[in-house]
């Protein structure tokens, strides 16, 4: 199955965006993002701490809805999902 990953702002600069990737059924949010982020050590280090946990400021969305960080390791992704990963917002 295929999902789309969108990084924004600083994360986008480090990792790119609109990344289409094939994933195995049952893949969880956290492992998918970690796999993609490892392609650039600086990108990984911007999102994950030294223990491999999301920094608490990281924001996750699935199809435009927030996914809590504490739920990400147990939230599976599904075919066609759009996953967004971004730093704190700074509009206005």
């Amino acid at each position: 199955m295929t999902v789309k990953i969108r990084f924004f702002a600083r994360f986008r600069e480090l990792l790119g965006t609109d990344i289409m990737t094939d994933v195995a059924s049952g893949t969880m949010f956290t492992s998918l993002i970690a796999t993609i982020a490892r392609k650039n050590p600086a990108g990984y280090a911007a999102i994950f701490d030294e223990k491999g946990a999301f920094y608490e400021f990281v924001i996750l969305m699935k199809n435009g809805k927030r996914v809590e960080l504490e739920d990400a390791a147990t939230t599976p992704v599904a075919d066609g999902d759009e996953i967004a990963v971004f730093p704190p917002v700074a509009g206005g």
């Binding site: 924004f8 927030r66 917002v89 700074a90 206005g92």
Partner: protein, 140 residues
């Protein structure tokens, strides 16, 4: 009008359109690229989500402060010093509601709408740090 767009807007025309029947006050908020030693500012949005959030904030403000009209236009792309970033136009029967409604909208945008700013300088650029997470906790 609720929009995320690159183009600027005619604020005078927005004010004229905001004067619905019963209007006693129109409040305009115009957020501008400040001269903080930068050359330009680049704005980026998660557009589909940000537009829905702006619609939601406009509705909340309308209901809570009995607003008669709301415009929110947030610009994205590259902007130079002095350009408009965010224009909020609200009208209400009386000034307390108009001021409070306008203030509510800008504070909610700062809290939770997925938009980011990068200040571009001669030496490169720096992302403006966000004050909040998206909604600051459980989904709203």
């Amino acid at each position: 009008m609720i929009a995320i767009q690159t183009a600027d807007v005619d604020i005078g025309a927005l004010i004229a359109a905001a004067k619905k029947q019963g209007t006693g006050a129109v409040v305009v908020f115009d957020g501008i690229v400040r001269d903080d030693g930068i050359t330009e500012m680049e704005l980026e949005a998660y557009e589909e989500v940000a537009a829905k959030e702006l619609e939601k904030i406009a509705k909340e403000a309308t209901d809570q402060f009995r607003l008669l009209h709301v415009d929110i236009i947030h610009r994205i792309g590259r902007l130079t010093v002095g350009e408009n970033i965010l224009i909020i136009v609200v009208s209400a029967g009386h000034r307390p509601e108009a001021y409070a409604g306008s203030r509510y909208i800008i504070e909610e945008i700062k809290k939770g709408v997925p938009i980011w700013k990068k200040e571009l300088t001669k030496d490169g650029g720096r992302w403006v740090p966000g004050e909040h997470g998206h909604g600051g906790g459980k989904p709203r």
